[in-house]
């Protein structure tokens, strides 16, 4: 983000909807990678989406993580804006965030009128 704004990451970023550059839903902010926690200025470096990202989210999260695949890591500079949703700059496919719907699209696509 180019502008300096104050954001409470626990309340306004974590668990919020991710929207890609095309305006489509593409997952949730399931976890955040923060660097420099020992120093003066910790920084969010990555958004982690899906799968293993749930491991750190309580007992049910660990179970859910076991049942699903790898997480997708999105570098923070890909974020365009943070409002009630977190909007990314590029389309989901370029950030590998479209895997889920792609996987099932072939099956659903066989139904007439899909």
């Amino acid at each position: 983000m180019s502008k300096v704004t104050e954001v409470d990451i626990a309340l306004s970023v974590l668990d919020h909807q991710l929207i890609d550059g095309g305006g489509h839903n593409c997952g949730k902010v399931d976890d955040l990678e923060i660097a420099g926690l020992d120093g003066d200025s910790p920084q969010v470096v990555e958004i982690i989406v899906g799968g293993n990202a749930w491991r750190s989210r309580g007992r049910l999260g660990r179970l859910a993580a076991r049942l699903s695949g790898n997480a997708v890591h999105v570098p923070w500079p890909e974020v365009d804006s943070v409002t009630s949703v977190v909007t990314l700059k590029r389309p989901a496919a370029e950030l590998r965030l479209n895997g889920g719907d792609e996987r099932w699209a072939k099956l659903v696509g066989k139904l007439p009128g899909s």
């Binding site: 909807q17 991710l18 997952g27 399931d30 989210r57 889920g100 659903v108 139904l111 009128g113």
Partner: protein
């Protein structure tokens, strides 16, 4: 207001009336009437005001902040509690969907005379094809309008000449007669749960986003929720009054879903019976679609998938598969032959347990200026929202113990 707006309001209200009553209301209102006469009418009033308060609130939040209910559940309660709420709500949605499908099959059976088991897959196929083919607005309206056949119960209730003094007395809570206090309380919880089922707010708030409502539609939101649900509540009164006049003195316990329709037949003959069955068919059919979609909306909103009838099914493939799978699982549940009335009772009682975690995030976000700007809750909405949250907490704690203590209202 232009003619077009008046028409939109009228159409919205009509579909809300037809959409208000589902299998939970049918079962609990008729049984309450058959056991306690008119003594529990006051509970329906409390339930209807509750669903008006929270529907208006979640409609307003969805229109202004563009965030439907399960988005908020995840945001405000976090992953762990959110996932627990998701699992609970999906179990309840599935049970409710199965019960509604059972209701559709029973209506088909009563109308055609064909075997029940054969009609269950046909019911599911009919509902799935309607959901696939019809646009969102049409699903809501077709089922809502044809569900208005239930108005026959209002006519029946009047034609059965109840003692209106006793009816009026039923709107005041007080001492009771007919069965034990525990059974009475079980029905209080059941009637509140049937009126305030969580899937209604999941579906309603997602519908607001699907219909692309914004601040301009806030008036429509308020009027639809208030008048539509209030008039829908009259159908609940009618069911309870008709059962109180007809079933209570004869000692009939309506353990079969077709029983309420007999009240319409008794008062209005064959036409009454037909209208009642068509009304029930579309009311529970619409609710079956709403529950399967509510399940898919919740999953998609929890995990952040693309969702909605506005999306092409293959683009939002996980959402599409979700509602298809819910229909398929519900089909399996009904095919086991488990009694739809019992299934309904369980689904309503368990849904009460899921209510607090559904309603709390709505209440929190409706007060958040960062989301709502000038459209945050006013004093009245907060007073009623807070009051009802306490009511919901109490019944959520009491629901399962009461069900166990009374053997599901059997005493």
């Amino acid at each position: 207001m232009s003619l077009k707006n008046v028409l939109a309001v009228a159409l919205g209200i009509m579909s809300a009336i037809g959409g208000f009553v589902d299998i939970g209301d049918l079962v609990f209102n008729t049984q309450a009437g058959a056991i306690f006469g008119f003594q529990l009418l006051w509970v329906v009033v409390i339930g209807v005001v509750g669903i008006i308060v929270y529907s208006e609130m979640c409609g307003r939040v969805s229109a202004v902040a563009k965030r439907p209910v399960f988005d908020l559940v995840r945001e405000r309660t976090g992953f762990g509690w959110g996932l627990a709420t998701l699992i609970a709500s999906e179990v309840v949605n599935l049970m409710t969907c199965a019960a509604e499908i059972g209701g559709v099959a029973i209506c088909f059976q009563l109308l055609s005379g064909l075997p029940y088991r054969l009609l269950i897959p046909l019911a599911v196929l009919g509902l799935a094809v309607s959901s696939w083919v019809l646009p969102f607005r049409w699903i809501e309206r077709v089922f809502g309008y044809l569900g208005l056949g239930l108005l026959v119960f209002a006519v029946a209730a009047i034609k059965l000449h109840p003692n209106w003094g006793q009816v009026a007395h039923g709107f005041v809570p007080g001492s009771h007669s007919g069965d034990s206090l525990m059974v009475y309380l079980y029905f209080v919880v059941g009637l509140l749960g049937a009126a305030m089922t969580p899937y209604e707010v999941y579906f309603y708030s997602s519908g607001v986003v699907e219909d692309r409502w914004g601040r301009k539609e806030l008036g429509l939101n308020k009027v639809t929720a208030m008048i539509g649900y209030a008039l829908g509540g009259f159908l609940s009164f009618a069911l309870m009054i008709a059962a109180g006049v007809l079933f209570l003195p004869r000692g009939i316990s309506p353990q079969f879903l077709g029983t309420p329709a007999l009240a319409a037949e008794h008062a209005l003959g064959q036409v009454g019976l037909l209208l009642a069955l068509v009304g029930i068919l579309f009311a529970v059919g619409g609710a079956a679609i709403e529950t399967s979609f509510a399940g898919a909306y919740n999953l998609a909103q929890f995990f952040g998938w693309r969702w909605g009838k506005k999306e092409r099914p293959a683009r939002a493939s996980r959402f599409t598969l979700s509602w298809l799978v819910i229909f398929a699982l519900a089909l399996l549940v009904v095919m086991t032959g488990y009694d739809p009335v019992k299934l309904t009772e369980y689904s309503v009682i368990f849904s009460v347990v899921a209510l607090p975690l559904t309603y709390l995030p709505i209440l929190l976000v409706a007060n958040d200026r960062a989301y709502m700007g000038a459209n945050v809750n006013g004093k009245l909405a907060n007073f009623l929202g807070g009051l009802y949250f306490v009511v919901i907490l109490v019944i959520a704690v009491a629901a399962i113990p009461l069900m166990l203590l009374t053997h599901g209202g059997q005493g």
